[in-house]
Symmetry: C2
């Protein structure tokens, strides 16, 4: 038996709740991960009920995975980092949740990603997955760049790359720009033969759909497609600017996170590629780091 | 009494059904408009029930306006031009409608706009309102440029201009580009003091909302705002290209239509401004022209 009780808060739950899944871990005081659990979407933007359900589910799965199924959630302090709670009304809603934990410390997905990447130290991250954003934390001052959503923001993200591809292919089908191999690739993938068919497929689609088309741009760029290269360089230039904005006038370490990291990193400016540090821990570990920090502040305040 | 019956099809109903309203006219054989009626949205993309209801309502109002309330819709041949029916499934749905007219001739809003503008002759139109597109009809061959929708298409439209303004203001709030007077104007209009507030206001909004912000770009450009001028010139350049694509290698007359015409015309290339002809008739007259053409073809085929 690992532990019969958790009165000294030796064990923490760390949660990373994103738009597509929630990940939970159980971590002991030696920073060992005893178990992990994965459940559905944890972003309250897409529904409070679903987010809270996913958080509880992932935590219970992590307990089971750790061989701690006999323990209750109210024996654990949880660090909960969620996408969406940068929006004040969603933060307030989640903070008011009658959660099942001993205590819950709520943070944005950005803060826990940054705390994880730099093991709780000052630092910055840029993230490109379906969406994009940048974040830094220095002397407890947080700064967010981007994280604005689609289609009005999230430049350099999968959704943005996919949307640019669709736009360019529509222009080429109208004869307003030259068609390139990217045009043929997108039409083949979406099984469309003309612009009307393409519009029927893409109309009203959300960021996730466009994010799934992003690889069309990367594949075409690798084959030397000029329009794809222009798109890729514009997206990379935005991410370069984000990095420079976040690390200018400071010596913050910076990491790149998100599903597009392996593809996009090589397209960033050479000096930025050299500066990027590999993240030390994943975001759910950042949630535990955050929860421990907050608990120790509470002890000081007593 | 204008007429006691309409057995010789001396009177036609012409309808222009758009995304925000439907307009109907009653026209006699001397091309006089005897009455007009305006009702709700007629674009079947937003619902078959509403579109068909709006069409009937506007037609009845036009009959009343013409002093012909005693006549029934089944005494009239109607030309019905609708937004949305360029999408085949919507065309088929509307064509299968058990309509109340003696006969109904269904066409796209683009065709009737072009027929109206050029009094039934060959010609082209570019349209910029909430959306944008170009269209030509020559020797019964129709060509559409754009009309792809938001946010993947409709460059140079109100929705596109508004979205560009939001994007630029978000970048400026992140310190990635210089804020200009356009930034202050948009934030004031939407009563926002920072990027989080702006994102809350714009997230998930449709083309109409962004179209309502377009004037921020035009006003700022008139005051010399460089970012607004860049946006405006990019949109105008797209419209220039549309005109050149539609009129290249032919001598088609071209007109500009849509709510942004009075504002945008002056930003187009000088040679294009000189070439633009004022439209001869509005789209609902184009619907009557279309219906008469189709009826005379039916007579020939008998």
């Amino acid at each position: 038996m690992l532990t019969s009780n958790n009165k000294n808060n030796d064990l923490f739950i760390g949660i990373d709740g994103g738009g597509s899944k929630s990940k939970a871990i159980i971590m002991n005081k030696d920073n060992e991960i005893l178990g992990t659990g994965i459940s559905g979407p944890g972003n309250p933007l897409h529904g409070f009920e679903q987010a809270t359900h996913s958080i509880i589910e992932s935590a219970k799965l992590a307990l089971e995975d750790a061989g701690l199924a006999h323990m209750k959630l109210d024996e654990f302090v949880a660090g909960v980092g969620l996408a969406g709670v940068n929006i004040p009304v969603l933060f307030d809603q989640m903070a008011a949740w009658q959660h099942p934990f001993k205590n819950m410390h709520l943070a944005t997905d950005l803060l826990i990603a940054c705390l994880g990447a730099h093991n709780g130290g000052d630092g910055a991250v840029i993230i490109s997955g379906t969406g994009s954003c940048g974040f830094s934390c220095q002397n407890n001052e947080q700064r967010i760049v981007g994280a604005h959503g689609f289609p009005h923001g999230d430049k350099g993200s999968g959704a943005w790359f996919g949307l640019q591809a669709v736009k360019q292919v529509l222009l080429s089908l109208d004869g307003l720009v030259k068609p390139t191999l990217m045009s043929a690739a997108l039409l083949t993938k979406l099984n469309c033969s003309n612009d009307t068919a393409l519009v029927e497929v893409v109309a009203g689609k959300k960021a996730t759909f466009f994010g799934q088309q992003a690889h069309i741009v990367f594949d075409a760029a690798n084959l030397g497609d000029e329009i794809a290269l222009t798109i890729l360089n514009e997206g990379a230039e935005y991410l370069n600017n984000m990095v420079r904005t976040l690390t200018k006038d400071n010596s913050l370490p910076i990491s790149m996170l998100g599903g597009l990291t392996p593809i996009l990193k090589q397209w960033l400016a050479v000096d930025i590629q050299a500066d990027l540090k590999l993240p030390l821990h994943p975001p759910e570990v950042g949630s535990v780091i955050y929860a421990r920090e907050q608990e120790s502040k509470m002890l000081i305040n007593i």
